[in-house]
Amino acid sequence: MSVPAAVSIRDLRVLFGDTIAVEGVDLEVAPGEVFGLLGPNGAGKTTTIRVLTTLLPATSGSAGVFGVDVARHPMDVRRLLGFVPQQLSADAALTGRENVSLFARLFDVPRRTRPAVVGEMLETMGLGESADRLVSTYSGGMIRRLELAQALVNRPRLLVLDEPTIGLDPIARSSVWERIERLREETGMTVLLTTHYLDEADALCDRVALMHRARLRALGTPDGLKADLGPDATLEDVFRHHTGDTLEAGGDMRNVRQTRRTASRLG
């Protein structure tokens, strides 16, 4: 029996009313890989992630994490996942340690080892000193690292990061990158991240999938994709080549969330 893929998505389709958010997406991520979904805002990256994290049912098609189907066994899938959403989502009214402890409880980390595990995660993310301060005093980069600590407390097999460095200053960005790099070196964890930053995909990902207007347009290693176009090609060139569009231009669904809300209001 072969080892199941960390992520396997088959012919995924997600509709919001009449709006097609994801169409015909097939994707496989190998265990231990750092995989990037690259595309402009509104390309369907976040929607794909939401299906994978059991937050959104697919209209059709299937998605699985280490061979476990997200629609049939959502609870089992959640145990395999660490998830950091796009927004800075730590609770500002609690301390860093309390934020991580909450997730340790929600993931059934045994009471005896809980304080040690929580402390270790905070240390790993460079938050040991500030663990007992309220998160309202944290910088954006610190909150992002705290969220990583929250997501890792479960020692997940798949870490899902939705736009991990969006809105962060360059120093905070590189510190988040560094943590992700170190994590994969030390644990061999599979990471699936979405980004619309080319340098991020270039720096972190073993393979990337270019997503544009709900569909996957290209798939490969950053270097391989560039090499296909010529010696001096950049990922930006690759993106333009496959989509006829620039990353900054964005898709038709620049704000899917808005569309989605409108769609749900209109029933």
């Binding site: 994290t53 937050l55 959640r78 009214a93 809300r261």
Partner: protein, 255 residues
């Protein structure tokens, strides 16, 4: 069995978070004590002197459980605002991506509102005692008071989460919350006996869970006859229905 234990531990975890928040920021506890203090001091003292409302006990005594219930109502009915905030901040999505059943998540939130209401309730009862209300000192009765407060907060907070799941915006929830608190409050036995009400208000009061809450609190705190059994049954059913409906609406909030 394991599933029940797991859900129980989730509920405890979410209640604990509420206590931690209260410990970090006590200001809200104090500001929220102002309104019940004013009701007891101004409305209570004035109507005690007017003797306009015939009650079997001094009016301030009669009023105090009603104001406690009002405090619980005000805290819980706007609880959905926190849920919408958590939704916009991505916190809710993150919670829902943990192995926590929807039902346990909502129950946890409902009881967390209960914890907050309980702490606030202690403040109101201390105020009432200071003003000379003859409150029970029987620990079993006080324990039952705590149960009534938590169940009521669970019901009204899940009602708020249900409304949040329907309107999906803080502003609109704020408006709706304000629009329904006063009718709930006035069409109840919190301020005056049901017997004084016009027939149609009495009919509303009959289906208003707040009335059952007040009846239980009054009976327990003042050691007066009350239909405690019926009151508790109504509150348990109301909280159960609230949690069930809110849990079914939860996925709508993260879509």
């Amino acid at each position: 069995m394991a599933a029940w234990r797991q859900s129980g531990s989730r509920v405890v975890a979410l209640c604990l978070v509420e206590l931690q928040k209260l410990r970090h920021d006590r200001k809200e506890l104090y500001t929220r004590a102002i309104q019940p203090a004013l009701w007891l001091l101004i409305f209570g003292e004035t109507f005690s002197r007017l003797h306009a409302i015939p009650t079997s006990v001094p009016y301030l005594d009669y009023l105090a459980p009603g104001i406690l219930a009002q405090s619980v109502l005000f805290i819980s009915i706007f609880y959905g605002i926190q849920i919408i905030w958590e939704r916009d901040a991505g916190v809710l999505a993150k919670l829902m991506a943990t192995p926590t059943p929807r039902f346990a998540l909502v129950t946890g939130k409902a009881f967390a509102a209960g914890v907050r209401a309980l702490v606030q309730g202690v403040v109101v009862l201390i105020l009432a005692a200071v003003l000379g209300v003859a409150l029970t000192a029987n620990p079993l009765r006080l324990l039952a008071v705590a149960v009534v407060v938590i169940l009521s907060a669970a019901f009204f907070s899940t009602l708020s989460i249900v409304l949040a799941g329907i309107v999906l915006s803080r502003e609109r929830l704020m408006g709706i919350g304000q629009a329904i608190t006063m009718p709930l409050f006035f069409a109840s036995n919190a301020l005056y006996p049901v017997a004084l009400m016009p027939g149609w208000v009495r009919a509303i009061s009959k289906v208003n869970p707040l009335s059952y809450e007040v009846d239980a609190l009054r009976g327990l705190l003042l050691d007066r006859p009350a239909a405690i059994g019926t009151d508790l049954a109504v509150l348990v059913v109301a909280a159960g229905v609230g949690i069930t409906v809110a849990a079914s609406l939860l996925p709508r909030l993260t879509r």
